[in-house]
Amino acid sequence: MRSETGFDPALYDRFPTKGRRPKGEEDELRRIWCKPKGWEYLTVVNNNYVGIYYLGTAFLFFLMAGVLALLMRAQLAAPMLEILPQGVYNQVFTMHGTVMMFLFAVPAVEAAGVLLLPQMLAARDLPFPRLSAYAFWAYAVGGLCFFASIFVGLAPDGGWFMYPPLTSKTYSPGINTDFWLLGIGFIEISAIAGAIEIIVGVLRTRAPGMSLDKMPIFAWSMLVFAVMIVIAFPSIILGTLLLEIERAFNWPFFDATRGGDPMLWQHLFWFFGHPEVYIIFLPAAGMMSMIVATVAKTELVGYRLIVLAMLATGFISFGVWAHHMFTTGMPPMTTGFFSAASMAVSVPAGLQVFSWIATIAIGKRSFNAPGLFVLGSIVIFVTGGLTGVMVAMVPFDWQAHDSYFIVAHLHYVLIGGMVFPLFAAFYYWIPMVSRRALSERLAKWVFGLMFTGMNIAFLPMHLAGLQGMPRRVYTYLPGQGLELPNLISTIGAFMLAVGVSLFLVDLARNFRLALDEGNAGNVYDGATLEWLPSALYSTRSIPVVRSPEPLRDDPKLAEDVEKGRYFLPGSATGLRETIVTSPLLAEPQYLQIMPGPSAWPFAAAIFTAGFFLALTVQAYSFAWVSAVLTVASVLRWLWDTDRKVEKGEVDIGAGIMVPTYVTGPSSHGWWAMVILLVVMAMIFIMALFSLAFLWSNQPSFWAAPPLGDAVLISLLYGVAFAAALAARPLLRRGPTWPVLLFLVSTLASGIALWLDWNGWNATGLGPEASGQGAVIYALQALEAFALAIGVLMAAYCAARAGRGLITLPRSNTIDLTMLFLAYCAAQGLTGALFGRAFGMP
């Protein structure tokens, strides 16, 4: 493939340009990407700030969940202690797992992506800065309120896996469980928002010439990470939704006595839950790959194998979910499939580990701070990986499952696979954002204490598990030989904590935020673009990338970039902007105008959090007000976007001209919408799976579906689909056309949905009657929800058309609404037909 878009790669030879850049160009960049002042720190959307806020908040949750861990270890130091009473302990262990997984691990790596990716890809910012800000604030406000539930004894106590029926209204009548379901609900939304941002960012805003084979490994890992979120999170979104509906409205999705099945929850939960582990691990592994090469002062050995490993992990990790269910009585052949896939997923992990070892082998030996954490991580992660292979063996898992052996295994995997790499990353990248690097001398102590403490804490747990100690116990009886291993574990945990505290001391002494200028810089001699001299606008000019390690291969690059000798040395339009490039070869396609700071994403986030929290505490009127305000804030934030700028085409450097407004499948908005639709489709597919699962497991509860109206429903959805699609070409004839077509589309879908509902209603099957009824009406509720958004979007288009804000002859606003409404029709049709297909006589 010579060219992907028709761009002539020979044009790259024009760079670096000769001659001096005009005066004031850099000052204008500085003005456009200025620092926030005072209150503006809340409305800032630039990735540097949002990234730091995000990372800081995630780290705060790490510390708080760590304190919960210490409380548990204190309680378990000896048998039958009463430091934490039973009820409190159950809340504490639930919160520890939940907070570590949902509020620390995923957000932390997502935050690292927000902070590092634009720098690494030499983009001015991520493509949807306001979305990042929204994702962060929703997470921070919601997460902190969620955490606070433990101070008032309202924290969830059903375990982070929340198995019904323990978490059903019957056995958990309090609002504790609702805190989990709703609290996690919007953290999922935040994660999805971040994932969309990252996918589009990695695929569309790379520096020109940075083809996929030259992309920094971290960007690869974030790409796989984000795609995995898009595929995995819908499952837990649907699960939490269904369980909350069961609790609130008595629809028996998981109630075996009424044709539901608690096993359905386990499938939905683990289809998310196991990929989640790799979602956390992959970005950390990406960081490891970057750090290993820099620390060893060499290139990364096996770059393509690591890319392969990450892609393979991304896939195979979706075939291992049921290895959490080997003791549920699944038939041996089925457990065999999952056992085989669980072994297969360990192969790519091995490829990565050996790549790191190979890189260390050809490089220079170095035991600086990131180097130590990298080595520690390899040792710990390999241990966890090996015990992982052990529990992938079904008969061994029958013994190890739900025992402390698993507690040991998962902490080795997560601490070795995520926490240590993250600490390595802290040491490695802090000089990029801080005036001073962290202390190398203290780092040796931090590492020593964390590494030793970690092993002292978790190694004995393998033994405790094999002695018969189950997980999630608030205490244990004396005389079973468990006293010693538990006491040792507790000592280790506190040692680990001392190590982390020492790190905090180091941060307090040396971390001085310097996002704009004056940071400590490239102290470890990294070779990727984030080490170019940069300010809030990222790099002065955007370089042409000709190798995976551009700074090593072109020693003059930093100077040329700084002097503005590459792409976009100033602002072409006087606005915030970045170059959008093609997904494979990163050829420049157009100039994206980016939105600046705004209070609306912040407001929308606050109201989103308010909505979910109000639902939890059953303040329904407040919840609805918050919901309306959320929608209003989002629409207000969108209102300023999608405007054409004066100059239709601009020079982005060396006379290369690109458009400033692009619509259709190559625009970044189209990409984001398609990803969003994938998320919605995944939610819907998981709901369809739920129906099929109950049909197969609870046949005695099955009722015959209505069939007579299927043709009419299909026709109406067909009309809705066609009407939506016609809107794009007909925009040429004026903005009234698409608005009318959208009206037709939503109406047709609405009537079809009503017919669908009516048909089922007439059979006498209600949502409370059986699992089948519950899922059927849930499918319709999902469709109704999607359609409600569709109506809002159509109304928004109408409002813009009324104000003359629809660009002609093509408009992104119209395009995206078209996609969404066409999707709604397709989803409705699928649901209606699928629901009828199961149980047909």
Binding site: R304, L308, M333, T334, A340
Partner: protein
């Protein structure tokens, strides 16, 4: 799309294979017919893997990116062929 299909070929085969197998286990049980289905699917998956690999080797790309893409794809085929083999085993044993 073509580039992604090449890059992810083996992995997509794996995904199709795995989820069909899971479907058989979940909805059709472990009867002899089901086991036979698993084995046939596995043979098919391996054949597709083999065919993809041959294409990649014979149609050697001329540019750097194309070669890189083929290398990753070949690795993916090797890895997933192993995974497919492993996943066929439960139909024979167990």
């Amino acid at each position: 799309m073509r580039s992604w299909a090449i890059l992810l070929g083996g992995l997509l085969v794996w995904a199709a294979h795995f989820f069909l197998l899971y479907g058989i286990g979940e909805f059709a049980g472990a009867s002899t017919a089901a086991r036979g289905g698993v084995l046939i699917l596995s043979m098919l998956a391996l054949l597709v893997d083999f065919w993809l690999a041959r294409r990649l080797i014979t149609l050697r790309a001329s540019d750097a990116f194309g070669r890189w893409r083929a290398d990753v794809a070949l690795g993916g085929l090797a890895l997933t062929a192993l995974a497919v083999l492993w996943q066929a085993l439960p139909a024979l044993i167990g």
